[in-house]
């Protein structure tokens, strides 16, 4: 058991340097001169020389990669090409916003989707079940920016309850924060609830076909008790996996949602940096997002391992 867990953690940690190689190669080794990419054609020679020096372009590629990786590992993220600011400071300002967005979404979405899935499974075939199935199918097909724009039109334009753009001015106090975060959180929640609720439902329904459940039904147990006490523990591993995978999906979701709502988080920083081709910022942000993604996927693996008795005690 412990060995199995350790193995997973080790492979997970090993993917990080491998990913860094892809990120580095993606930004710096691909054809095309990085400097002309940053400055555009016809840049002054002085600027070209300055950028070349800042990116250490006169050094051979492997050396540059190793230097970059080690300074990354020691927490030195370098300086932005655009503003000259320290990237660590820039990310330090933005990261709390993104973490808050993802965290609140997780707190809202996970309970709602598990309860929805539970209710749908308990009344499989009922109108409630069909309604949730239909609604989740629709939400699975909609891109985030559609859901986001619809929510804005409803709550910000027609009802005028909430601001359309998250931080038009610096938020003052709790109410302001709450108001400006509601729509982004709602959009992300809608995106992740559908797969989680569907998985909860189908895992429970699969569990309900097991012989143990048949026994419980024959004993005359009430259905709610069967679902909650007998089926749920059996269905837990796939549900946990899907929850963790969807939390990992938030890494992708925040990119779109932060742009829709002009939310001042890390993803907005990354997308802006891609636009101005600020390579060091892109590298640093991409690495942090990838790290979060790998960590959440790893958690999904580990939790599935722990939650499944058959895999916990392999024969």
């Amino acid at each position: 058991m412990i060995r199995l867990l350790a193995q997973r953690v080790a492979t997970g940690l090993l993917t990080i340097p491998a990913i860094s190689l892809v990120v580095f190669a993606g930004t710096e080794i691909l054809p095309g001169d990085v400097v002309t990419a940053v400055l555009g054609q016809g840049a002054a020679n002085v600027d070209v020389a300055a950028i070349r020096q800042q990116l250490n372009l006169d050094r051979p590629v492997p050396e540059r990669y190793v230097t970059w990786l080690f300074s990354l590992a020691s927490g030195d993220l370098g300086k932005s090409l655009g503003s000259g600011q320290s990237i660590a400071t820039m990310i330090g300002e933005r990261l709390p916003y993104t973490l808050r967005l993802a965290g609140v979404t997780a707190l809202v979405a996970v309970p709602i989707s598990v309860v929805l899935g539970l209710l749908a499974a308990m009344r499989a075939g009922s109108w409630f079940d069909r309604l949730t199935s239909g609604a989740t199918m629709v939400f699975l097909s909609g891109p985030e920016f559609l859901v986001g724009t619809l929510l804005v039109i409803l709550f910000a334009v027609n009802l005028r309850w909430l601001p359309a753009v998250s931080f038009a001015s610096e938020p003052q106090g709790f109410v302001d924060h709450f108001r400006s975060m509601t729509l982004p959180v709602l959009t992300l929640t809608v995106a992740v609830i559908a797969p989680m609720a569907r998985m909860t439902r189908s895992a429970l329904l699969t569990a309900l076909t097991s012989p143990a459940i048949e026994m419980a039904i024959l004993k005359g147990m009430p259905r709610a008790r069967i679902v909650l006490l007998h089926a749920l523990p059996i269905a837990l591993p796939p549900i946990i996996t899907v929850i963790a995978l969807n939390l990992a999906y938030l890494v992708t979701g925040v990119v779109i949602v932060e742009v829709v709502f002009n939310y001042p988080g890390m993803a907005k920083l990354l997308v802006d940096a891609v636009g101005t081709r600020d390579i060091p910022v892109v590298q640093a942000c991409a690495m942090i997002f990838c790290f979060a993604f790998v960590a959440l996927n790893l958690t999904a693996d580990l939790l599935a391992l722990v939650a499944n008795p058959r895999r916990r005690y392999p024969r």
Partner: protein, 294 residues
């Protein structure tokens, strides 16, 4: 690692309920109809669109539908309907290009991995797993930073990203087929590997790949739309639907049709493809259960 780094929440397309086959067949027809209409619109775009892509037809931005054209005007006063029609061609064209690239690269690499020495297979698979452990949108952002935005870059990037997903499925399928007796016989007959790959394995992996095609197409459209939405797709004045949503985002405050129409167009295409995939899966399940009964 079970890393699913696509642009959709994981679980999409994997947890299809066993809907009654008749109902899903009926729904699949709706799906085919919607996709068919969009394909026709894309093919005959210049004939259908009342105006050109970049043509400014009104001095008002975000004019209401009816005042200018059927769907009103966008932020520059261009006809929304015309741009939507031209956008269909761009959106479907890019997705088709990326998908074709993904299936060619993914399948070829998968077959090479399956038919080569173990160390080739192992290293290709490891490399692929690493690609899979990076979110698709992050990979795309990184590559686009280095290469800039242009149609070839966009199609190649998305094609290669989706190829890593095709690889996983095609390799598993190829290994299954490779273990069959008829392949053993053709090896014994002295056929060369390319012949086996092309004539024995590919036809037998095809059904698997076709089932994946619908889901893959959907995810490709969403990834392309997301990138366009982020402003990293094609350059104005030509537009695909994702980019149309982005450029008209300021119209959201008046509930402009210009913002909503392209978003709904993407949505209609996705839901149509989902209906078709549901039906395909329900059908293949039924095939299996009928086989079991025999």
């Amino acid at each position: 690692m079970t890393a699913s780094a696509d642009v959709r929440p994981p679980g999409n397309g994997e947890t299809i309920e066993s809907a009654p086959a008749d109902a899903s067949a009926w729904m699949a027809w709706i799906g085919f109809a919607i996709v068919g209409v969009w394909i026709l619109v894309a093919m005959f775009a210049p004939a259908i669109a009342p105006y050109g892509v970049g043509e400014i037809v009104s001095r008002d931005s975000f004019a209401r539908p009816g005042e200018v054209g059927l769907l009103g005007s966008d932020y520059l006063g261009r006809d929304v309907l015309s741009r939507l029609v031209h956008g269909a061609r761009m959106t479907l064209g890019l997705a088709l290009g990326a998908i074709a690239l993904a299936f060619v690269i993914g399948t070829l690499a998968a077959f090479i991995a399956a038919l080569s020495r173990p160390w080739v297979d192992a290293s290709l698979s490891r490399a692929n797993e690493i690609m899979l452990s990076i979110p698709a949108i992050m990979l795309a952002l990184v590559v686009i930073t280095a290469l800039g935005t242009s149609i070839p870059v966009l199609v190649c990037t998305v094609g290669v990203i989706e190829a890593t997903r095709v690889f996983r499925i095609a390799r598993a399928g190829a290994l299954d087929v490779y273990a069959m007796e008829f392949v053993e016989i053709s090896i014994a007959r002295g056929e060369n590997k390319w012949w086996i790959m092309w004539r024995e394995i590919l036809p037998n992996v095809m059904p698997l790949l076709l089932t994946d095609l619908g889901t893959r197409f959907n995810l490709t459209i969403l990834l392309l739309a997301s990138l366009s939405f982020l402003g990293l797709g094609i350059q104005p004045p030509s537009a695909d639907w994702g980019m149309m949503v982005r450029e008209n985002l300021s119209g959201i405050n008046f509930g402009a049709v210009a913002t909503l129409a392209p978003a709904f167009a993407i949505f209609s295409l996705n839901i149509a493809l989902n209906l078709i995939v549901d039906w395909r899966l329900a059908q293949s399940n039924r095939d299996i259960s009928e086989e079991m009964r025999r």
